[in-house]
Point group: C2
Chain length 194, copies 2
């Protein structure tokens, strides 16, 4: 998605440790006009697929998922992160290892909002090691719903997440795949521009 790549080049900041800061438009301040274009692009990429629910994970996925849900004219659901050990029986739960925060947390979704007959598209802002999407896909499987695919805004192509998700046969669409970044020069190389 050229508009997105241009924006990443213009406003993204490459930091030490392969960190790409896009918090001026994606995951702290949110450019809703850009989100609308992102929503349209996912709708185009999953055209012809029957989708009745968008599933994301708190917190930074929620805003994007809402605007994507508008494009598909369906409700959004966000999985909650929790450290509570004793989970009531009315939720599906999975574990996610956070690359950014270096810890494991439980994610939950109420059984009321995911189940047999649902056709689900996962949405998230970033794909790095794939743990968040794997956890969400777990929840979908447990619930008996159908996983239609996953859409991420930025895939870090130099980390394993994209391969992990694709190797499971999940239809993954990433709007920008960063294959390399250089914190010294600020250079960002996208996958189809090699």
């Amino acid at each position: 998605m050229q508009l997105l790549k241009d924006r990443i080049r213009k406003d993204g900041k490459v930091k030490e440790g392969n960190v790409l800061k896009v918090d001026s438009f994606l995951n702290h301040q949110m450019d809703i006009k850009l989100f609308e274009e992102i929503g349209k692009e996912f709708k185009r990429r999953f055209a012809g697929e029957e989708i009745n629910k968008i599933l994301t994970i708190e917190a930074s996925g929620i805003g994007i998922a809402c605007v994507v849900a508008q494009s598909f004219d369906v409700p959004g659901v966000f999985a909650k992160k929790t450290k509570t050990k004793n989970i009531a029986g009315d939720v599906y739960t999975s574990k996610v290892e956070s690359y950014t925060h270096g810890r494991v947390y439980d994610i939950i979704v109420s059984k009321e909002f995911l189940g047999k007959g649902d056709r689900v598209l996962l949405i998230d802002d970033f794909l790095a090691n794939g743990k968040a999407l794997e956890g969400l896909a777990d929840l979908v499987k447990m619930s008996g719903a159908e996983l239609v695919g996953a859409g991420v805004v930025i895939e870090k192509g130099f980390q394993v997440g994209g391969d992990v998700i694709r190797s499971k046969g999940i239809h993954l669409e990433s709007l920008a795949i960063v294959d390399s970044m250089d914190e010294k020069t600020g250079t960002i190389v996208f996958r189809d521009e090699h």
Copy 2:
């Protein structure tokens, strides 16, 4: 807002301890069509006010804030909750006491995204004791931005938050004010229906 009150009566669940569960449409599963109507209603209630930024707090405020931001045609920003003690100098920080979780956490917003010249509308899903809105108002004040007002979807009128916020002279608009609830009968009384 009648559409919202009708929805709360239809799908809200009154639980022990003055808990109003609206997670089927507001803060777990999200009815984006309803969010669009909420956005239009806030736009109507703050008509004539110059607003260039929507500020909310993670996680459940983010979806609503995004759709409200569409109505105002401005960017949204969400304050992050953090337990990190050593905050870098490039953020504004305040403290919020959580009624639901019974603990205090720091909220932060990057100095890049809030400052002099900004005219800010706060948005959140619930108003109970007012601590979250107070924390957000703090961040706005620290930044030198102008606080135009605050919009909440559901105000618990039997808790102190509404009085606290209004007594500070903040223009507060609540789309539904619950004055009392009965967990035994499931009855919900809204403020203008006494």
